[in-house]
Amino acid sequence: MSKKDIKLEAQALNAYYGDFHALKNINIAMEEKNVTAFIGPSGCGKSTFLRTFNRMNDYIDGFRVEGQILLDGNNIYQKDVQVDELRKQVGMVFQKPNPFPKSIFENVVYGLKIQGIKNKAVLAEAAEKSLRQAALWDEVKDNLNKSALALSGGQQQRLCIARALAISPTVLLMDEPASALDPISTAKIEELIYELKNHYTIVIVTHNMQQAGRVSDQTAFFYMGELVEYAKTKTMFTSPKDNRTQNYITGRFG
């Protein structure tokens, strides 16, 4: 592996939904400014794992975690960690575009506003910067006060990315960000991910093998709550070590 710093790390991570053992002893380290793809069949725990990085599972009744998740070397499941502070560092984009039923501008600056930032100039600047980063600025700059719900699905998803970028995170979690979009919008999102990895550490869950191949540097294959294989994407896609990985990526499962 290259000499980049380790940004995210899971150590002996176990997760449970009540009695169900959802993640089994996961150990993984992800480098800074890299794209890591999580692949695996539905219910394999990849989304659950992704959500441990910003503690989105905390709201689920009966969910608990053992082990450590390290962000820049600090355990985010420590008692004194405030989740709102954590989430300023770890942004998230969801499967279905979920813009708030507000204007485009309000969507982008929401994260800043809840931090108490009221200065209009600051908000406007941040909005433009993140919309540009999300490759949406040119399409919406004249309609910032239009409802976000009037945008197309692909635009909505890029708006959600801009919204996440506005609070300047260092990590971006993406939970199947293109699975609800048409191929053109998907291609745009993928290009965007490729650009964004110059500045952010990105973890993406995807069901689309080609997508994992196109956008990611490393790929992790999960099966039944286990991390079966973690390797460079090229290595995994040309010569996977585990038979289960082979069967999954060649579409011969079960």
């Binding site: 910003n54 989105m56 709201y59 009744d61 989740v83 709102d84 502070e85 954590l86 989430r87 300023k88 942004g91 998230m92 969801f94 279905k96 979920n98 813009p99 708030f100 039923p101 929401y110 994260g111 506003k113 809840i114 931090q115 719900l149 959600c160 919204r163 996440a164 609070i167």
Partner: protein, 285 residues
């Protein structure tokens, strides 16, 4: 006759029966409205709305009654709205899914089904006697608030539930607290639904006579109330009072007052429908 022919016949028969059932309610309502309007419309004029009650039917008006109703409406809203919405928000957003919460839920559902007269007795004991509010507007409004609280809680919860999980996730993921998420996202998005529920609850409260009679609202109040501690009457009580008189003229008065009461309820319902439609147009998840 083959089997499929039989089935088709059954289908037709049920269709006819269904239409009949649907129209029964409408027809009864139409007859009722027609009857009331015939009887009462000639009594409605400006004087009728602005006169105090009187022993003589031709001079009697409903000023104190509708002003009382208005007072009750406003006070009830002020009391029930924050209580009901806050309780709904707590149960839906904060309450853990444990035994206590299911106990609360069952009881709120039960409360919604309790006859209104029982609320009257409760109000009489607590507000009128224990809190020494007497037969005042405040006691009446508090009693009616109790009556509609379960409805408001349930509709608030339903409205909040209809806000998709993804909106909350989006807010939380940006570092928002639960309170910020509820205040900035969930409540604005569900406000139309909540308002609709409140208005429907109020339109029920407007029509209630029984609990108010129990707590001591009077049929004859020769002045319009000017503070929440004043004695009062409301339209349903006035109507009840007039219909129990033997004179024909008072029955006409009652019909006229019923028209006024119906207009108020229809208006409230109309506003509710309007708000709901607007909400549905504005937000498509």
């Amino acid at each position: 006759m083959t089997n499929s022919e039989k089935n088709r016949l059954k289908d037709k028969a049920f269709q006819v029966f269904g239409i009949f059932c649907t129209f029964i309610g409408l027809v009864v309502l139409a007859i009722f409205l027609f009857d009331i309007v015939i009887e009462g419309v000639k009594r409605i004029d400006w004087d009728f709305l602005t006169s105090l009650p009187s022993r003589r039917a031709s001079r009697a008006g409903i000023l104190t009654a509708w002003v009382g109703t208005l007072w009750i409406l406003v006070l009830t809203t002020l009391i029930a709205f924050p209580l009901g919405v806050a309780a709904g928000v707590y149960l839906e957003e904060y309450g853990k899914k444990n035994r206590l919460s299911s106990f609360l839920e069952i009881n709120i559902a039960n409360l919604a089904g309790v006859p209104s007269i029982i609320y009257g007795l409760l109000g009489l004991e607590i507000f009128v006697r224990q809190m020494r509010l007497g037969g005042s507007l405040l006691a009446g409004a508090l009693t009616l608030s109790l009556l509609i609280l379960p409805i408001i809680i349930v509709t608030t919860r339903e409205a909040i539930k209809s806000v998709p999980r993804s909106i909350r996730d989006g807010s939380f993921a940006l570092g928002a607290s639960k309170w910020q998420t509820v205040w900035f996202q969930v409540l604005p998005a569900s406000f139309g639904g909540i308002l609709t529920g409140i208005i429907l609850a109020l339109s029920r409260a407007v029509g209630e006579a029984a609990p108010l009679i129990v707590i001591g609202a009077l049929a004859y109040v020769p002045f319009t109330p000017s503070s929440p501690m004043d004695e009062f009457t409301v339209l349903p009580i006035q109507i009840f009072n007039w219909t129990s008189r033997p004179q024909e003229a008072f029955l006409n008065n009652a019909a006229a007052a019923i028209i006024v009461l119906l207009i108020i309820t229809f208006m409230l319902n109309g506003i509710a429908v309007y708000l709901r439609n607007r909400q549905q147009r504005k937000i498509k998840w």
